[in-house]
């Protein structure tokens, strides 16, 4: 249940898997993403409402064949240059995208967590998103005849989240902005949770979400595992790191150097870096 991070990633994340690393600005599982890069996973379908710099890094490193998302950017800074490079120029490999709104993605996770094949929402009507994906359809209310949007459930092979604490049995506790993490874990076939610390007892905290051990496949203690994002009650967001990423990520060579030196990982595609 409690494992080292590298072992957790090795056991739970396979090439070709659909993988969701969730976190809404807060508690982003950055260390787990870096471990996926280091282990050289390939052909992943990456899922996330708000892909930010860790997804930029994974995409730039060539881990992803597809991205399912609703907002991809460097929050407070600007664009994701590796993401753009993949979409606009196919570097280091072409990236297929499946694009939704936040409301749609959130409801897709809810359906996944609920064991339903789809969710219903008021959304997408009149937008050009509808024409770009076959995962937005129309459904009619059987009582009123009203037309609404339907989106299919998301059920990742593995969901990865970061949390403040876990106990020794693997019960997980997170608080602050808890986003979509509960639904992401409940929707997934397997799940990995990195935590700031492992404690004997999870003292209740206002606003907490508890993920019972039986829906968690593995827990890894990774203090600082969501840096440069933040862990409410543990450390603040490193806004400078988000700004610095802009420069690193603008240039393929600079990025490849970061991969090798910053992460100890291979350049994305041998012979093509730069």
């Amino acid at each position: 249940m409690i494992v080292p991070l590298d072992e957790g990633v090795r056991e739970l994340v396979g090439d070709g898997d659909t993988v969701a690393l969730e976190g809404f600005t807060h508690l982003i599982p950055v260390a787990a993403g870096h471990e996926i890069i280091r282990q050289g996973r390939r052909d992943l379908t990456l899922v996330r409402m708000t892909p930010d710099i860790v997804y930029d890094q994974m995409i730039g490193a060539g881990c992803a064949a597809k991205l399912v998302f609703s907002w991809g950017g460097n929050p407070g800074v600007g664009s994701l240059h590796r993401f753009r490079d993949a979409i606009q120029y196919g570097w280091p490999r072409p990236l297929e995208i499946e694009e939704h709104s936040h409301a749609g993605m959130a409801n897709r996770y809810v359906a996944g967590a609920s064991g339903l094949p789809f969710a219903v929402l008021r959304g997408y009507a009149g937008t050009d998103l509808v024409d770009q994906t076959d995962t937005i359809k129309t459904i009619e209310c059987p009582f009123t005849g009203e037309k609404l949007a339907a989106v299919p459930a998301l059920n990742p092979d593995v969901s990865i989240v970061h949390a403040q604490r876990a106990d020794r049995e693997g019960n997980v506790q997170l608080w602050g902005i808890t986003g979509i993490q509960k639904e992401a874990v409940l929707a997934a076939k397997r799940s990995l949770v990195t935590v700031e610390e492992i404690v004997d007892e999870l003292d209740p905290v206002p606003g907490q979400v508890v993920l019972p051990a039986r829906v968690v496949s593995a827990v890894a203690a990774v203090p600082g595992g969501s840096r440069p994002s933040y862990a409410h009650g543990y450390y603040a967001r490193d806004n400078g790191a988000y700004q610095d990423w802009d420069a690193v990520s603008r240039d393929r060579e600079e990025f490849s150097r970061w991969l090798a030196e910053g992460l100890g990982a291979q350049a994305p595609l041998p012979g093509k870096a730069g």
Partner: protein
């Protein structure tokens, strides 16, 4: 660009946007310019403004300007923090929110908003971040206010991609689409204020900021801009508004 009276066009825009909000409103706040304006309103004429961010923070009152939609300060100062599905399903979707405050990368003649892509979707010139919460904010809030810097590249006749529906291709289209909110009721820029024409829904210049001419606005608009016969002047920011705004943005 500091005007003679000692404030920038961005500051004028932010103050004008803040004026769209009142103390009784609930406001769904997008990050960036809209967030700055809403936080300014809160600290000046609209102390009761109830701000929601899509990260799930309801009734938040940050003491510093949040840098992202999920800043810790939003959670710490909120009436309550709910999950992301809850903020969209229980709070936004039923039409509980008076005003949605949005930005745009492109906005067109009918106030449709593009934050997805410049150029062709499958072969983009510039890939933008995407939809986020905007499509449903634009659909479900009772009204929408857009805050965006004005230029002919941004204000286009027809958006390359409609991420969030404004008034579609004109009057009656929101109703036809089943969108329950009134849609964009004003667009506040660094040059002036535009509102949809009551009959055609086409964005029309109704207000000019100090020192800006109609020709300036026309030059910064990618279609033949209609101008209201009752064109008004935007009140200039007060010293207090500027001082609060600068304490928020860290520009002293």
């Amino acid at each position: 660009m500091t005007t003679a009276t000692g404030y920038t066009a961005d500051e004028m825009m932010t103050v004008a946007a803040a004026h769209a909000l009142t103390s009784e409103m609930a406001c769904f706040v997008g990050i960036g310019l809209p967030s700055t304006a809403a936080n300014l309103a809160c600290r000046t004429h609209a102390p009761g403004l109830w701000m929601i961010y899509e990260s799930g923070t309801l009734g938040t009152r940050p003491d510093t300007l949040p840098l992202s939609i999920g800043d810790g300060v939003l959670a710490e100062t909120a009436d309550t923090v709910v999950s992301v599905p809850e903020v969209f399903n229980y709070w936004l979707q039923p039409g509980r929110i008076d005003v949605g405050f949005l930005g745009a990368a492109q906005i067109d003649r009918y106030a449709n908003i593009n934050t997805t892509v410049i150029g062709d979707y499958t072969d983009p010139k510039v890939r933008l971040p995407g939809a986020g919460g905007a499509p449903e904010i634009a659909a479900s809030c009772r009204e929408v206010v857009v805050v965006v810097r004005q230029s002919a590249r941004t204000f286009v006749d027809r958006a390359d991609f409609v991420t969030s529906v404004g008034h579609g291709r004109g009057a009656g289209e929101r109703e036809r689409l089943g969108l329950r909110g009134a849609g964009p009721t004003r667009v506040i820029t660094d040059l002036g204020v535009l509102k949809p024409d009551p009959a055609t829904r086409e964005l029309t210049l109704v207000q000019l900021h100090a020192g800006v001419t109609v020709d300036d606005v026309r030059a910064a608009t990618g279609w033949e801009l209609a101008v209201s016969p009752e064109l008004a002047s935007t009140p200039e920011p007060t010293a207090e508004e500027l001082s609060v705004l600068r304490s928020l943005t860290g520009r002293d």
